[in-house]
């Protein structure tokens, strides 16, 4: 994640690139192609879709026929393909190179996932079809659920949350429901480490809790003593990330969980960093009560330029009864049931001793089915042995990066032991006037997306590097060389870094202007309104 304009740069500062290179008529630079918006090249009369001929008479629209123009430009098929192809070439992507974003797990997205998701039996099925006609789809959800439960050592799983933050909300609402069922709804405080991702306190606040920070220790972990001291009858839960946002394993997590449970609270674990431990450690063994899993991180479903994600939540025995509707259940006859509001009570009585008491429904329909097929395909491809190897190679790669760069960049925790799947550096030692942002922008010219910057806040000028397990040693070596080179340039006071990137499709963009005078839609030049 990047900061907004922290370097104080403005466009007037100049520093243009390619001085001396000849101008071109088009503004293009060979394969670096400028592309206008559809509003500048399309027309409302043009369409790239052919329709059946035939009459379209008859109207039952009341008086509500649309009379005014909408303003939607169209393009023919060749123009459309060209427009979006040209735009795509202005994006960095995993398919192009190492994508070192800490806590995002930018691993290779297997194409088998895409093939399977597009099988008509998964892609062309409506969520409200009679359940006997969708036993395969319900079977996928159920099989994936079983894998997630076994990989995490938990008791149950909520499959419906649509993304990680949505999963956090689900977990916190299960906790809230469990407390209320125990008559302890007066517990209003949730403890969250200072290093947590912003979604953690935002989620807790949404659910009506007061958030209190827990400080970190100098070795980058949660201050266990401070946490335990704060526990009490008003504390509902602790939200913890493990491995944490500094890329370190929270050694005391079992101890913390025991203390929290003894004090009557629950443990929520942010599972964003599960890639470090999948197949080697089970959060259930560490006393976790709820953990969301980002299928688009650990389980390779594509990031898609910003979603869609999927955030199923594994639940302990204490919390499983409160999970949201709907859920799937396989009975002994092999039939897979979809339990919605209608059958929830009856099914609970028949199969769960009447203990289930869902907190409600989080989304229409059943969850991110398209992501379930992809994730299950990936999990079946790796299997239990492969997933264990995933975690090992992810941790190996991150430690290789850490040890290769700790001589160049300040690595605040490198002295106290290994990191997990991501390595963290700080801006200590950079000369006056040079910042983490400059290193990030310099890395762009080297042909990389920058690592996560300025997160977590507990490390000054943080740079969080997560290579993932799908990088070869050669790819790692090249990345290490590039980051080392940029860091050395910063330490040598290379002014060109202040105006990097020089070679990207765009130079640094004025984010202050964008926020001060937001232009969020295209505005046509004023013309007379077209009426029908």
């Amino acid at each position: 994640m990047s900061a907004i304009n922290q370097s104080g740069w403005r466009p007037e500062m100049g520093g243009g690139s390619g001085e001396g290179a000849p101008a071109t008529f088009t503004g293009n630079r060979a394969l670096m192609l400028e592309e206008p918006t559809i509003f500048e090249i399309g027309s409302t009369d043009t369409t790239g879709v052919d329709f059946a001929d035939g009459d379209v008479a008859g109207s039952r629209l009341g008086d509500l026929t649309r009379k005014s123009a909408i303003g939607l430009p169209g393009l023919s098929e060749p123009e459309t393909v060209r427009h979006y192809t040209r735009l795509s070439r202005q994006n960095y992507a995993i398919d192009l190179g190492l994508f070192p974003l800490g806590s995002c797990t930018m691993k290779h997205n297997p194409r088998l996932n895409e093939r399977v998701a597009r099988m008509p039996g998964f892609a062309d099925v409506h969520p409200l079809q009679p359940v006997d006609t969708v036993q395969g789809a319900l079977g996928v959800i159920n099989e994936l659920a079983m894998w997630l439960i076994k990989l995490t050592g938990m008791h149950g799983v909520a499959m419906s949350p649509k993304a990680g933050a949505h999963g956090e909300l689900c977990g916190i609402l299960c906790i809230k429901a469990a407390l209320e069922a125990r008559g302890e709804g007066h517990r209003k405080v949730i403890l969250v480490p200072e290093s947590a991702h912003g979604t953690n306190p935002a989620t807790a606040a949404f659910a009506g809790f007061a958030v209190e920070d827990i400080p970190a220790t100098p070795d980058g972990r949660v201050d266990t003593a401070a946490l335990k001291a704060r526990l009490g009858p008003d504390v509902a839960a602790v939200m913890i990330t493990n491995p944490n946002t500094c890329g370190l394993f929270e050694r005391d997590l079992k101890d913390i969980s025991d203390a929290v449970h003894a004090a009557g609270g629950y443990v929520y674990c942010d599972g964003a960093n599960f890639n470090a431990i999948v197949g080697r450690v089970r959060p259930g063994d560490l006393g976790v009560d709820a953990m969301h899993i980002n299928l688009h991180k650990t389980f390779s479903t594509p990031h898609g330029g910003g979603g869609p994600g999927s955030g199923p939540v594994v639940l302990s025995e204490a919390l499983s009864p409160y999970g949201p509707l709907p859920y799937t259940a396989r009975t002994e006859d092999g039939h897979v049931h979809l339990i919605e509001e209608e059958r929830a009570e009856e099914f609970s009585n028949e199969h769960f001793g009447g203990k289930l008491d869902s907190f409600g429904r989080m989304v229409a329909f059943h969850g991110q089915m398209g992501m379930f097929t992809r994730a299950l395909t990936y999990i079946l491809s790796h299997g239990a042995d492969g997933l264990k190897q995933v975690a090992e190679d992810a941790v190996l790669n991150a430690n290789y990066v850490l040890r290769s760069l700790e001589g160049t960049l300040d690595a605040p925790f490198a002295g106290s032991g290994p990191c997990m799947h991501e390595a963290i550096f700080s801006d200590a030692g950079l000369p006056q006037g040079f910042s983490t942002l400059d290193i990030a922008k310099g890395l762009i010219d080297e042909g990389y997306h920058p690592m996560t910057v300025y997160f977590p806040l507990v490390v000054h000028g943080a740079m969080l590097v997560e290579p993932t397990e799908t990088e070869s040693r050669a790819a790692l070596d090249q990345f290490i060389g590039a980051l080392r080179s940029v860091a050395e340039r910063a330490k040598a006071g290379d002014a060109a870094l202040k105006s990097a990137p020089h070679y990207a499709p765009r130079r640094r963009l004025d984010e202050t202007l964008a926020a001060r005078k937001p232009v969020l839609v295209w505005k046509d030049a004023p013309v007379a309104e077209a009426a029908e």
């Binding site: 009459d55 795509s88 070439r89 036993q135 993304a163 080697r280 229409a364 089915m369 492969g386 937001p518």
Partner: protein, 452 residues
């Protein structure tokens, strides 16, 4: 293993560089008791592409595919023809495997696409602005309700009986935690929406009225009087559009003075996929833009003065504001927004209008044909591509029986509102450009047989 490039030699050499003897040394921080001694038991080991594909194909074969049978389901998810180019373009690695565009210099592809998407959505919905998408229509609807509370500082939301029952269920669940008071009701199996009842229900405590357009039975109503009534009491009108193709034929909610318009974009580019991932649409009036949830893309310039795009107004979002964020949403539905935008670009305005006209004409013909079946009555006189029939028997068992005969006959109101006797004979039928005259005839004939 095909996704793991490291060789055994690599691993050994890298361990040496790190100064560790074995990989276990790097997991030293894991307490002894939590260390697993080997791969987790009871789970299979790795498998080839061939084996995995076979396993998944067997599961896929157990589903009835909408395109293989006469198919009439709607109610919040619609089967439209997605042009072949869309799926090819979204699978380009630069879109599929890109990240959220936080480093805008190397994400102008995603950012310009989002800017175009926001503009298309705003124009379609008739709002001043739109965001870069939400998870889906149901969560977008809920976010609109909480936004109305922030804007009006009131907490009573009135939800129309014509709002999708899953959307109502989501709102009821979330309202338990936010203190919003919801007034809800059931739809009636009749010709009229509940606009008049909603107008009568608005009072000084009302933060918003939420109405679906067309509604769950397919009915269309003029929203302007409702907007006026809401504004008179300083409340907001939220309109929910679950079938955006309808807006190629009927007036937009924005034109009728709705304050917030949300919707489900699935119809364009996205495909049924058994319920997700979908794409939530969210638009509103300019004056409310700083209260909008979700990501926003804005235009700016770079150091060379060239036009470019960035994510903006991020102080609304939780990674900056933490507890004080406008919502806890982090991601949007980027790839689905791209698919929607590409499909919309291929259609263009003329194409969208033609597509909408074909949908409506097909639905009119189907409604006329089905109304001729003894025991079938057309309940909804106005509709776009989805209408409701009242059968002489309970609809849910009829749907079940027709499924056994290889016909997916629509959504029974019994499925959506179990236990509601007044609605039990209702069947919601959707018709799109993918529905053929033969399909309709097959349904009509079979209906006649099972109702006899």
């Amino acid at each position: 293993m095909r996704y793991l490039p490291l060789t055994t030699d690599d691993r050994q050499a890298m361990l040496a560089t790190i100064g560790a003897k074995t990989i276990d040394d790097l997991f030293a921080d894991v307490p002894e008791a939590a260390r697993l001694s080997g791969p987790i038991e009871g789970l299979p080991n790795h498998a080839s592409e061939l084996a995995v594909e076979r396993h998944m194909a067997r599961l896929a074969a157990k589903n009835t595919v909408a395109g293989d049978v006469p198919f009439f389901l709607g109610c919040g998810a619609y089967r439209h023809h997605v042009p072949a180019s869309v799926d090819h373009l979204i699978q380009r690695g630069e879109y599929l495997t890109a990240y959220t565009p936080y480093q805008p210099e190397i994400a102008q592809g995603t950012l310009q696409m989002l800017f175009e998407f926001q503009t298309q959505v705003a124009r379609l919905l008739g709002t001043d602005v739109a965001n870069a998408s939400m998870y889906d229509g149901s969560t977008a609807c809920w976010e609109a309700v909480t936004m109305a509370r922030r804007v009006t500082r009131k907490a009573k939301a009135i939800l129309s009986g014509g709002l999708h029952p899953h959307y109502v269920s989501v709102a009821k669940t979330m309202a338990k935690y936010t203190g919003d008071v919801l007034e809800t009701s059931l739809p009636t199996l009749g010709a009229d929406t509940d606009i008049d009842a909603l107008i009568a229900a608005i009072d000084d405590d009302t933060s918003c009225v939420v109405v679906q357009y067309p509604d769950i039975l397919g009915r269309i109503a003029d929203l302007k009087p409702l907007a006026d009534a809401a504004h008179a009491k300083k409340a907001l009108l939220i309109a929910v559009v679950t079938e955006p193709v309808a807006l190629g034929a009927i007036r937009s909610p924005g034109e009728m003075d709705a304050d917030i318009v949300v919707g489900e974009g699935q119809s364009l580019g996205v495909g049924l996929q058994f319920g997700g991932p979908y794409v939530g649409l969210f638009g509103c009036k300019e004056k409310y833009v700083r209260q909008m949830p979700g990501r926003l893309c804005g235009e700016t310039v770079d150091a060379d003065g060239k036009r470019g795009f960035v994510l903006t107004l991020s102080t609304r979002e939780q990674h900056i504001r933490r507890e004080k964020a406008t919502s806890n949403i982090c991601t949007n539905s980027g790839l689905c927004a791209l698919a929607f935008s590409i499909h919309m670009t291929l259609l263009g305005e003329a194409g969208l209008r033609r597509l909408a006209a074909l949908n409506h004409a097909g639905a009119c013909r189907a409604a006329d044909r089905l109304a001729k079946v003894p025991g079938v009555e057309l309940v909804t006189p106005t509709f776009f591509n989805e209408f409701t029939l009242k059968l002489s028997k309970e609809a849910r068992p009829i749907v079940r029986e027709l499924a056994d005969r290889g016909i997916l006959a629509g959504v029974s109101l019994g499925r959506l509102y179990p236990g509601e006797g007044d609605l039990a004979n209702g069947l919601v039928v959707a018709v799109t450009e993918t529905t053929t005259a033969e399909d309709v005839e097959t349904l009509a004939t079979a209906l006649q047989e099972v109702l006899a």
